[in-house]
């Protein structure tokens, strides 16, 4: 009697599992069906992209609703090549190692193309030409980069601004903050006398935060690129193709003007073509 009961319970249990499996299969069939019907085909798989957020106006916003110049540009490129970017917030010092290790497929993070970085990753054609800015408190006596020598200077850790400060300001105490806004806040709080940081970030701080001004812009021949792991030639070519289309059809100009309130420099159009 007892055995029969046990067998019966077991049978019911099996039946329940079986029905679950069937239902599961049914619903997954449905999803495949609808994706296929959408017509975007096999290339619609998402593109995982790493970025150090926040770094306004290049990347900003909360998780899931990231925005900024880099983000919108990457989305525009993604549209051209049929892959929707999915962004992951990560820290800049490890970003190239992570893309090289395959943690994500691409990096767009206001990253300057440098020889040293090219040893670890491959870069796309440049998508942005940059300058460094010397940011000081409003009404400060500091008018140029040289004036900062011997003063306390804030930079963002691992950035070109930090390199510039190390090269040009031998007599200064250079403080590397984890994020750009921290460096700007240190300036406003008066614990440092200047910040060396990417010009658009400085411009954004002047507009949004106030109380600070740009003393000097230092051209650095910096070009920003999208990084992929070495050997990912196919993906790199697709990104370059997407970037070219975005530049040619005016999308780039629209995004640029939206975020920088300026016309894009003419050189970017030739810069992104000449590498071919």
């Amino acid at each position: 009697m007892r055995t029969t009961r046990l067998t019966a319970t077991f049978a019911v249990f099996l039946l329940a599992i079986a029905s679950l499996v069937v239902v599961g299969c049914g619903s997954s069939d449905d999803t495949t069906g609808s994706t296929g019907g959408g017509g975007s085909g096999e290339s619609s798989e998402p593109l995982s992209v790493g970025s150090d957020i926040p770094y306004p106006p290049f990347e900003q916003g909360k998780a899931g609703e990231y925005t900024g110049f880099d983000i919108e540009l990457m989305e525009a490129i993604g549209e051209k090549i049929g892959r929707t970017p999915e962004f992951t917030d990560t820290s800049f010092e490890t970003i190239f190692r992570d893309v090289a290790q395959g943690k994500f497929e691409a990096v767009i993070s206001a990253a300057t193309i440098t020889e040293e970085r090219e040893k670890a990753v491959d870069f796309s054609n440049p998508y942005y030409l940059s300058e460094q800015a010397v940011l000081v408190k409003e009404g400060s006596d500091i008018k140029s980069l040289e004036d900062l020598d011997g003063k306390t200077v804030a930079v963002q850790q691992g950035t070109t601004g930090q390199e510039l400060a190390k090269e040009e300001l031998g007599g200064s105490e250079v403080r590397p903050y984890p994020e750009g806004p921290d460096a700007v806040n240190a300036l406003k709080a008066g614990t440092v006398e200047g910040v060396i940081i990417d010009a658009p970030v400085a411009q954004n701080a002047v507009e949004k935060s106030g109380g600070v001004e740009i003393a000097e812009k230092v051209p650095t021949e910096e070009e920003y690129g999208i990084a992929v792991a070495q050997g990912e030639t196919e993906l790199l070519e697709e990104i370059n193709k997407g970037l070219e289309e975005v530049l040619d059809d005016g999308t780039y100009k629209t995004i640029y003007e939206k975020w920088f309130k300026l016309e894009p420099p003419k050189a970017i159009f030739s810069a992104s073509h000449e590498a071919e």
């Binding site: 010092e93 190692r97 590397p176 921290d182 008066g190």
Partner: protein, 247 residues
């Protein structure tokens, strides 16, 4: 796999960067020593305030308890960020205190010391309190019946006994404090974690992290062993009875 070892266990690389990381680690120790001494002192002070008897001291006790509860409950990282970001703006405070450069150390050092002291003094107060409450109530009663004031009883009878009961938990807190000194990197103070990050950003080699970790181990491991020894000794005292005195 070999890439992993190249990235994290490149001993030649560690040798090349030893000086840099070691200098930075000394800064961790400097934060640790100053913040540790301040927290031990302030913590005892707080614990004693908390033990003040009678209705008269109720407000003081309440403020002390509030301090301890608040600082035990806020992440140290946030405390340090709030101090370094907020304190300099308080213009009614003299500039030398808002943006301190005492003893040749830059302001991020002092913001870190202040943040860690605020939080760890609250932790330490709880450790002292455990020690004080472990002294049997009869001791205080006896001291008071001899005509000692509350303060005298604390000073001559309770606290000397209390501190013999707590070296182990105290050392545990100190180990945590030493490790937490790396949090001061968020305000751009060039201690070991920040320098290791910087070395990695420049060279794409993470071995400096491991090197910094080893330096911490060299200090904290003996401390942990010592904690074990102290606990064992204390248990011996309890289980075998008080007639066995260990000097």
């Amino acid at each position: 796999m070999s890439e992993f070892f190249n990235q994290y266990f490149d001993f030649n690389f560690m040798g090349e960067h030893f000086g840099e990381v070691f200098d930075a680690f000394l800064k961790n120790l400097l934060i640790f020593v100053v913040a540790g001494a301040l927290a031990l002192t302030l913590g005892l002070f707080l614990a004693l305030l908390r033990q003040l008897p009678g209705k008269k001291f109720m407000p003081l006790r309440a403020v002390t308890i509030a301090y301890i509860d608040v600082f035990r409950s806020i992440p140290i990282l946030i405390v340090i960020l709030l101090i370094s970001g907020g304190l300099p703006y308080l213009e009614f405070i003299p500039k030398d205190i808002r943006i301190p450069h005492w003893f040749g150390q830059p302001d991020p050092y002092w913001y870190g010391v202040l943040g860690l002291t605020l939080v760890y003094s609250a932790y330490m107060a709880e450790v002292y309190r455990a020690g004080i409450e472990a002294v049997p109530g009869g001791q205080v009663e006896a001291a008071r019946s001899l005509g000692m004031s509350h303060g005298q009883a604390m000073r001559h009878v309770v606290v000397p006994q209390a501190v013999t009961k707590i070296p182990a938990p105290m050392l545990n807190e100190l180990i945590s404090l030493l490790k937490d000194t790396t949090l001061v990197s968020v305000v751009a103070f060039g201690e070991a974690a920040l320098i290791a990050r910087e070395i990695q950003a420049e060279t794409f080699n993470a071995s400096a992290y491991v090197l910094a970790g080893i330096m911490f181990l060299v200090i904290t491991l003996p401390m942990a062993r010592l904690v074990d020894k102290l606990i064992k000794r204390n248990q011996g005292k309890i289980t075998r009875g008080s007639h066995i005195e260990v000097a």
